[in-house]
Amino acid sequence: MFLASAALVVGMAILAYFVSFSSVHSQQVDLANLVSYESAVQVVRLVAYDSRSGTAWLLLRRLDETPRNFVLLIEVDGEFLECESVYVFDELRDTNGLVCDGADGDCVVACSFYSGRVSSRDVFVWTRDGPMPLYDYLRRQAPELVSPLRIPHPSPAAGYRTRNVVVGVRLSELEASGLRVYLGVDYGGTIHVARIYEVNLS
């Protein structure tokens, strides 16, 4: 009787462990696959850098056409930009052929989509060794808080003819040598950085 009870308890414990382990691990697999996938399908290109106005024009593009919004962080010479420095060109509002001239409302500041801040310890950068908090990844240069940018994907259903997003980044430092774009994905409310692009401005 004692042995039968002990075997039942052990069996139940193994089953509970297995269910719990499978659930946690399948989430990890899903996340790992998502990050890996996003690292390959999100692309950033530098269109032009206007050194006179200190504006870098970037192109964001998803190669898979999935209507998933962009989540990114932009770092210029060690400082992470706030959402006020980033403008998103809205081609549907453009009436004069001038990108982000402010005359026709075709330039939307990134804060209008999202303006929160998060701890750099809650943003994970995926490296070869697995996910690592941004704070640890950047080591001594790490700020406590960073401002993620959330930029909507241009939906063809809404009338967008291209699937590119043109972003103007106003650099306060005109002598900036380059910027880093941390492309990420939101998973369960946590930002995971899938790929980091280095954009040379010099």
């Binding site: 297995f18 499978s22 696959n33 269109v47």
Partner: protein
Amino acid sequence: MRPRRGTSNLIIAVLVMTAIAVSLPSLFLYVYAGRVRQEVRALSYLEVEDRARYVDIDAVAVVDRDVLEVVLWNRGGREVAIEGVLALSSCGGERAMLRLTGSPEVLGPGSVYHLTVDLASRGCGVDGVYVVTSEPRVYSARLYNADMIEELAPPTGGEFGPPVSTIYVLVPVEVRTAPWEIAGVLGDAGFVLAMPDSSTSPSRLTLLDGYGALAGGMNSASGRWVSQSNYTDVTLSANRVEVRNVFLGYDPRDPSRYVLLVTNDGPIGLGIGGSSVTLCSGYSATRVKVYGFASGDQRGIVLVEGDSSRFGSGRWVKRPDQDVANLTFLNNRNRGRITLSGRAERVEVYCFVVGQARESGYAPYLLLMNTDGSRRAGVLFTTIDVVYGWSANRNDLSGSGVALQDYSARPLALVYRRLAIDNNATKAVLVSLNYRFHDNEGEDFRGATVDRPVLILGLVDEEGRVLSYRSFTFRELTRYEDTYPPAAQAQSALALIPLPPAESVGYRRLYVFIIIQDPYLYNTGNTNLDDLDLTVYVESLAVLLFE
């Protein structure tokens, strides 16, 4: 108290099972997750690389006062979608990015896209133009302003030199006169007949006055070819007539008509002008050349019967084959049959006369034709009359035992005089030759004891001195043909001949020459060797000058 043996075994079993149960799922998930991750990464990476690799856009932007011209050229091999053209600008003192195009444009390979933008209406100047493709890639256009271009433009007076290279097509030739007037066609095309000092390694070529020498120059093993008769504008028919070989091409003046050369070791019975005629009756061999043949039979040009593995129970030939040997040795070692019906502009008949006189002209051996239906003529030269042989028996032996080997006692040497190449202005000459070759030696090079040139290409100066040449010998040519079943593969060759500079050898005017010949009769020690006959079809001969 010691536990019983059964209890301890059970506890050990439970512990082992627990260990396995705990480790298995994690091991499985670890392996599975790693594999999936790698596959996703590899596939996506390859896709991205593949999409970007073959895109090649050349973008040029020119600002001419108040107008911006953008030219995009897709230099790659695949379609490119241009998703946008942007220009970094200054508009009314403000920095701005101009959007020059809104909707995507698809550029095919090699195509060019023009864009003109009026800058005056926007009051903008342009500092940079950027092209965004769907890959996406961003191309920065080379930006010029008109002032820069005016400075770079050549002054009037044409001081720019000649182009780097110029190509001249010598063959196929244009046929302005009747194609049976071989001398007239070649002469009109710019070729002058010449005589080399050696048929194997020419060092000098003597230009001849006219084409009279074509009346001779060919020798045969046991006799000569004589012209028996010519017919003009006649009906022509053949009903299962026995023949050995047929060479078929398009008439160079009219692709709806055809030219034929039919050979047989014996007479050929045809219906000509409504009468049955036995051509070359009593002679050992016959060659019939037909020009301007228009078939009256809806089924095709000529019905050939022979080797069933090639022609089945008989096959109507509907168009000339590019392989000029396709209708040779119709029934392998035996005679085949042809059937045709139509109208011919001209029929020439040559008969082989056995005797001590052995010299013939080139006319029976040459046919000006093409195999692509163009209105120009290549040169077909054939000495094949009957059938193939091997190294242990005689090639081209007639059924009655007459040896029909032919060879060129004097090669057909042609100098193209319409193009004088000046070593003062030209640094090198590239001669290009497209040709077909077929022979009747079943053992190919093993049937020949010596290797002799069949084709020679080169340059000769105004005084007849050969500057350089490239020869195509039998052993080289026979590698790319099959005697039976007959196949004359398409061959091409390039010969680059650098010219000696005028500073070192003086000023020289050079001309391209080509020599065509059958250099083999037979070996007097063993007549089964070197007894080959052959077919050469010069499809094209072109010259590229590097100036």
